[in-house]
Amino acid sequence: MSRDATADDGSRATTDGDATTPRPATYYHLARAVLYREFLIFVRYPANAIGGIVVSLFFFGLLFYGGRLLAGQALTDSLEGIIVGYFLWTLSVGAYSSVSNDIGSEVQWGTLERHITTPFGFAPVALLKGVAKVVRTFLTSAVVLAVMLLLTGTWLSIDPLAVVVIAGLAITSVLGLGFAAGGVTVLYKRIGNWLNLLQFGFIVLISAPVFELPWTRVLPLAHGSALLQRAMVDGTRLWEFGPLELGLLVAVAVGYLAGGYLVFYYATRRARRLGVLGDY
């Protein structure tokens, strides 16, 4: 006789003859567990997401109405660019702070130590959490973007494919910075507030003069920001970008993600050597 049950995460469990034998979990099970956990926290505790949206819109309101008072027509002329830049900034801040703060929380809770003593280790869990944070940030930033457009009465060309691919790759580089910051937090603990200041540097990167100073394209966000402006303001489709432009976007994303991840990996290893991994 067998009994089938539907688990919380929708997967099917069989408890017939062989079911009492533990089956090994694969990376698929790990991915499902990590992503499902992130999903549960997102839907159960929406206050963080709502708070982030409200704060983002508050600062945009200050920027928009304050700018109109001070700069008048000059602001209106560059409004589309400001909205796209602000959209990318909210995405970047969301991805960066959620990853770096999340690693800090795992250290504080002692769950990072538990992950270290598992067969999978913390590395794939951290990467999967990063993916979840990016998806979550896209959802909240999409709301911010929609309200900004309504508030200003502006219309942008929003091709979902181009926006998701370009913005996604642009903030992947920031994800790398988040991992690096998380690694530094693992080593030096309570410096999260200092590292959060880095997010204001994203404004500089997003508005980097990539045409006047082409080398700035290899910085995080800079090249992606330029492409996103063209996609959302000029209506350039994804396939209309040159292979070199897209190639550089991918290379910068992968490079910073890999670099940030290496920093996190070596910081964790050094923390284990120093015996400070779980100290908080």
Binding site: R23, P24, A25, R37, R44, H115, T117, P119
Partner: protein
């Protein structure tokens, strides 16, 4: 619970059955944990602290080993070295025969730990969700151990709270969730740091009983670190005492207690005045003097022939003995004798 072969790799299904016969005897002989010459120093120069100094110990499968020592003795560093959370300066750690430096994934498949001073699990998830999550990251498909999770919930009196977020539970219940999540993945070797901290008497008793059952019936190997001597004495087969980064005693509880047998008796009488006490002190070792309900209770080092001498001395002094009984040594006394420190962490005076 998953089975392991001699190689230390978790084996399931047909592969396990095939390998079982071949590996059974070798596997049984392989200790669950073998620590060889572990040393760890923190800091350098004048500030250097030798947390663990050339410690070796072996933990047999299915045994419950207690780790005792004052604060700063090196227990936590030793446990964290075994878990790979701290990288030792020297020495090797083998878990079910696998060197953790060579194969982390294989070595830690069946190991989990509950460390003191940490949440250990996710308070925003429910109890059941925590069990499923931690089973998965420990390499077990949670659906395949759903029945085990139900049993754990029942045994730890968490069944009615299974779908409650952990943050809403009391401290004692959180402690139980933490322990249940450690067992959720079917770990065969678990490290527990102060497992009864925050639990009321009844919960502590239930937990100790469950730990004994898991070791006896399911072959769980447990390394438990605690300041609570009652917990150690109650559940451990063997006790390892540490002080200043070194192992100062490593034996069964019974052997440690018998080794501390001091041939002492406790005599109670209203007739023991200061004069009698002075005479006793002249001839015997008087360890402790208390006054209870107007009667003197004196612990005297006497046994065998000296016990007759003691009785003669008391009789000669005109003392009527109201009660006399042999003093049973306690683990705490053994601990103080061996480490020279109080269990709470301070050096004894």
């Amino acid at each position: 619970m998953a089975q392991r072969g001699a190689t230390g790799q978790r084996q399931t299904g047909a592969g396990r059955v095939e390998a079982e016969g071949r590996d059974e005897r070798t596997a049984a002989a392989t200790p669950a944990l073998a620590i060889e010459g572990i040393s760890k120093q923190f800091g350098s120069g004048d500030d250097a602290v030798q947390a663990v100094d050339d410690v070796s110990l072996s933990v047999d499968r299915g045994s419950v080993v207690g780790l005792l020592g004052p604060n700063g003795a090196g227990k936590t560093t030793l446990v964290k070295s075994a878990l790979g959370i701290v990288v030792p300066d020297a020495g090797t750690v083998r878990v079910f025969g696998t060197d953790v430096a060579e194969g982390r994934r294989a070595a830690y498949t069946d190991v989990d730990a509950m460390l003191e001073g940490a949440r250990n699990d996710y308070w925003r998830l429910t109890v059941r969700e925590n069990l499923r999550y931690f089973a998965t990251i420990h390499g077990v498909d949670p659906n395949s151990v759903a029945d085990r999770h139900e049993q754990l919930l029942e045994r730890f009196d968490l069944a009615t709270k299974a779908d409650t977020a952990v943050r809403e539970l009391s401290r004692g219940m959180k402690q139980k969730v933490s322990l249940a999540s450690v067992l959720a993945g079917g770990a065969e070797l678990v490290f527990l740091d102060e497992p009864t901290l925050g639990l009321d008497i009844e919960s502590s008793r239930t937990l100790r009983s469950e730990l004994r059952r898991l070791a006896r019936e399911e072959g769980l190997t447990i390394v438990v670190s605690s300041h609570d001597m009652a917990v150690i004495e109650d559940i451990c087969d063997r006790v390892v005492m540490m002080a200043d980064g070194e192992v100062v005693a490593d034996d069964t509880v019974a052997a440690l207690l018998s080794g501390a047998d001091r041939d002492s008796v406790r005599v109670t009488s209203a007739g023991i005045d200061d004069g009698v006490l002075a005479r006793l002190r002249d001839r015997f070792e008087v360890a402790r003097v208390e006054t209870v309900d107007g009667r003197r209770r004196v612990e005297v080092g006497a046994g065998g022939d000296t016990l007759y001498e003691l009785m003669d001395t008391l009789r000669a002094a005109g003392v009527t003995v109201e009660d006399i009984r042999t003093v049973q040594p306690e683990l705490e006394e053994v601990f103080v004798d061996r480490t020279g420190m109080e269990s709470g962490g301070g050096r004894s005076r």
